[in-house]
Symmetry: C2
Subunit: 224 residues, 2 copies
């Protein structure tokens, strides 16, 4: 794995956040999960620690954000803005991994991107360049992440304006058992944010429990 990172997962008691917590803890990272309810975070953290065979800490969201060097946000879209407000003063200088999919129930199978085109792009704009926002992990089925024995058949598109920050997230994806790709600036997060609706559609249409994507194509041979 990469160097040990100190990661806090805001909304880490949900399915997607818990899956990342399990996989990162197992890979040797120091993981904290946050919840609006600190007692619940602590309780779920105990369950996850047992499952991962590694310590996971549970804290209230703001305390979790204060503790982490890398902050992953895995809350539902409906509580995304309010949650960011809560933790905002703990983000300066940090890497923020935004996993948000702007699903708007009941039409979750239809793309409904927010004004401005992308959640993560809006977050980068709102927080300023002192927070390195990277978008990733929107397309992986949460149930597959949470199953440590499941080999994940889905690549991760990693978007962000800072290539070094993208590299860090690519390493973290590798540590969690996924192949990940530099996919461009934070604007390109629109792709991953939108793609989830098509995957949900495909799951229904073709009875697939958790469709994913792979990027195809081999590098051209170097010229001799």
């Amino acid at each position: 794995m990469t160097d040990k990172s100190n990661i806090s997962i805001i909304g880490g008691t949900g399915a997607l956040g818990a899956g990342l917590a399990l996989r990162w803890a197992r890979a040797g990272h120091a993981v904290t999960i946050g919840s609006r309810d600190g007692a619940r975070a602590s309780e779920i953290a105990k369950e996850l620690s047992a499952k991962a065979g590694a310590d996971i800490t549970g804290l209230e969201n703001e305390a979790a954000a204060a503790k982490g060097d890398i902050i992953a946000v895995t809350v539902p879209y409906a509580s995304h803005a309010a949650t960011l407000d809560t933790i905002r003063r703990h983000l300066d200088g940090k890497l923020l991994i935004d996993v948000t999919v702007p699903l708007m129930p009941p039409k979750v199978r239809t793309v409904q991107l927010p004004e401005g085109g992308s959640v993560a792009k809006a977050v980068q704009k709102a927080l300023g360049e002192n927070v390195r926002v990277v978008s990733a992990f929107q397309n992986v089925a949460a149930a597959h992440l949470a199953d440590l024995d499941h080999a994940i058949d889905c690549d991760v598109l990693v978007c962000g304006n800072d290539p070094a920050a993208r590299n860090q997230v690519i390493s973290l994806a590798n540590d969690a058992g996924m192949k990940a790709w530099h996919a461009g600036r934070i604007d390109n997060s629109a792709i991953a944010e939108a793609l989830t609706s098509a995957l949900i559609f495909i799951n229904g249409q073709y009875k697939i429990p958790g469709a994913g994507i792979r990027i195809t194509g081999d590098p051209a041979p170097a010229e001799s």
Copy 2:
């Protein structure tokens, strides 16, 4: 193959349109390519016919649109609106396959979706429900399409409001040697339209000549 279709490809002298023309003609469909310049369309059609081993007709765009039962639009984004105006009165009751990627040079590696979120969605809205608009083929490398010996390692996301029209396009994709998926309503075209920018980014970052995507996941076994 599916039943023989009468397909006109508007902008069919370009790389992407010519590739589809070659593959559909070879599969037995009656293919016409359109261009603003009818003489040029006729000349390119002769070259493509030789390559495909099947007749391809070349006409000026409006005549081509009048002739086809299925109309594919493969013009650059910059001339998309003007081209649709030219052929609009020949579209009623037809299936319109929109292949447009809203690339805005010079930043073609960055997603810049148009207001309203998607070209194809806007086209469906503008043309009304009497034209069945289906979006597809935005993510396939044109050079791969044009090479009849190239096995295409890229799935096609097929979006549109009419499932039967989507089915027709899925069959046409199969005839052209590609696997295609029902990917939801025309709104979901935003995904394929945006994805091309990430694939261009990936081509540059990883030195891949024509990255693509595959959808992953197997259907759940039927209950016994």
